[in-house]
């Protein structure tokens, strides 16, 4: 994905029509969102030593190789931690507060923990899972949500809803 396409996909410089923020991918991170748009959870791995790294960046901290590839993961993980933000918040977030933000430890790459939202369905609201259902250690699986700006973000569903 080129920088131009990235900018287009994130239309409006990060703010969506619904008022929520859309990611503004940089050159290193753009492939993550390109794969997400295809329904794939992939992370950047070193083409030399194979180590995954996150957030994406130009070279490998282990072997300093500049060659990388994007490895497809199972999309499974566990909740490592979570918070429930309350106002004061940006207006679109305040409207859904309290909502959850989860940190998901990936089953195939345990040191990579993705910030996201636990939702009842891929396109459901940020607060669609009742807080009492959220537990550290709960198994989750990736879901893909196309935002109204056309960019796809990864969200999380409980394995045992």
């Amino acid at each position: 994905m080129t920088q131009t396409e990235t900018t287009t996909a994130a239309s409006g410089g990060g703010e969506r029509a619904d008022g929520l923020l859309a990611p503004v991918p940089d050159d290193d991170g753009a492939p993550f969102f390109a794969y997400a748009a295809r329904g794939e959870l992939r992370v950047q791995c070193c083409a030399g030593c194979g180590e995954p790294r996150f957030p994406p960046r130009p070279c490998c901290p282990h072997c300093q190789s500049f060659e990388s590839l994007w490895k497809k993961l199972s999309g499974r993980g566990r909740i490592w931690s979570y918070v429930l933000p309350h106002p004061p918040l940006l207006p679109a977030y305040a409207a859904q507060a309290p909502y959850n933000v989860v940190l998901v430890e990936l089953a195939d790459a345990p040191r990579i923990r993705l910030v996201g939202n636990l939702v009842a369905a891929a396109d459901a609201a940020l607060n669609s899972v009742p807080p009492e259902r959220i537990r550290i250690g709960a198994p989750v699986k990736a879901a893909f949500h196309e935002t109204d700006g056309g960019l796809t973000v990864v969200r999380w569903l409980l394995e045992r809803p």
Binding site: G14, P23, P55, I112
Partner: protein, 388 residues
């Protein structure tokens, strides 16, 4: 100090000779530049040093008053050293450390460090979210992880889960700071006692963190004056020596969202601590009073572990039994800290450390001769060991 020595040691080579501050309030009428000048001139007056003798400046990259303007306004002389330290509250102690290094190596003789901020009446950093989005916030902000409280809340929840820390432990921290503020007429919370009932029923900011787990929003400025140890002995007050100093940026660290390294619960304090103690003549057990960066209450147990006051996972339990109160194992944030005195990116922790070692604290630890001061945990940080 011999300027020519190639391997100058920092240990006790310099001292804080003056401290100054403006009032602290939610809203002050004067500009940040005016407040900075007032604090700096007060610190120079406290030291008994003329502004024209200032030849070094250090502050934070987030400081919006720059040294050129300050030097002009206060009437500084020729300035031969100036620098700024990044990462918000992580820079506080490093401003002093950079001046100490400059003075110990003969690059300057009178240094001023300062922080002036109108956070109470000005914009808050998280509201300017859009410009932060490209990197690394593209991975966090869109999901509603908008504010520092949300970012630290994730660590706090995990810490509670792994080690059995409870809200009562966080309350112990909030209460110790508030109790000290109740003894400090300059503190914003001087006349506002805190009870457990108030804490437990307070509104949430980011569960598991409530209102009282968060620092204040303050307008104000502070400054300190650093000179050689030799010169400090001729100044107005008992010198407070910079015994050891360190910065800390751990391997694979990410500021505020330290979620992607092996162990997010060992933050920058661990890195700074290793260096800090390595060059010190004493250890954590010898610290009489601590000023530990408290933008959020959970940072205290994490820092207690990082700086070696207890073992990994024991920071919450350390706060029990009045340990952080006057007379306890480690009296903490004796001016009220960021939670209850003022939140000016931690600079008030430095000035309070100086007061304690002068013996002039409003909640004085009797006979205190050693003090640990730390900067923001969760971001690349810094720390000082001060002694009298």
């Amino acid at each position: 100090m011999g300027a020519a020595r190639a391997t100058a040691t920092l240990k006790d080579a310099t001292a804080i000779a003056g401290i100054g501050q403006t009032p602290f309030a939610k809203r002050l009428p004067e500009s940040e530049k005016t407040l900075a000048c007032r604090a700096i001139l007060a610190a120079l007056d406290d030291a008994g040093i003329a502004p024209s003798e200032v030849d070094a400046f250090a502050s934070y990259t987030m400081e919006e008053t720059d040294e050129v303007e300050i030097a002009k306004a206060i009437g500084a002389g020729d300035v031969t050293f100036f620098g700024k330290v990044g990462y918000g509250g992580g820079g506080s102690c490093a401003t002093v450390a950079h001046l100490a290094a400059a003075i110990a190596t003969g690059q300057a003789s009178v240094g001023v460090a300062w922080r002036s901020r109108k956070r109470g009446s000005g914009p808050r950093p998280w509201t300017n979210t859009r410009v932060q989005l490209p990197t690394p916030a593209q991975w966090t902000r869109p999901y509603g992880l908008l504010r520092p409280a949300d970012e630290i809340g994730l660590l706090a929840r995990r810490y509670m889960h792994e080690y059995g820390a409870t809200r009562d432990h966080f309350f112990n921290v909030a209460l110790a700071c508030r109790n000290r503020a109740n003894q400090n007429p300059a503190a914003m919370m001087y006349d506002r006692p805190l009870t457990r009932e108030m804490y437990m029923t307070a509104r949430w900011i980011s569960e598991p963190l409530c209102l009282f787990d968060n620092c204040l929003e303050t307008d104000g400025a502070l400054a300190c004056v650093l000179v050689s140890a030799e010169r400090a002995r001729d100044c107005r007050h008992r010198p407070v020596y910079v015994h050891s100093a360190a910065q800390g940026l751990p391997a694979q660290h990410h500021g505020m969202v330290n979620y992607w390294n092996d162990d997010p619960l060992t933050g920058p304090s661990w890195t700074a601590a290793r260096r800090l103690w390595k060059t010190a003549d004493f250890g954590p057990q010898d610290v009489d009073v601590a000023q530990i960066y408290d933008a959020f209450t959970p940072l205290i147990p994490l820092s207690l572990e990082g700086y070696g006051f207890c073992a990994r996972g024991e920071g919450a339990a350390f706060t029990e039994g009045g340990a952080l109160e006057i007379g306890g194992r480690l009296p903490l944030n004796t001016g009220g800290g960021g939670l209850s005195e003022a939140y000016v990116h931690g600079f008030n922790l430095i000035t309070e450390g100086v007061r304690q070692l002068r013996g002039t604290g409003t909640a004085q630890v009797p006979g205190a001769t050693t003090c640990l001061v730390t900067a923001g945990e969760g971001v690349p940080t810094s720390a000082l060991l001060l002694r009298s």
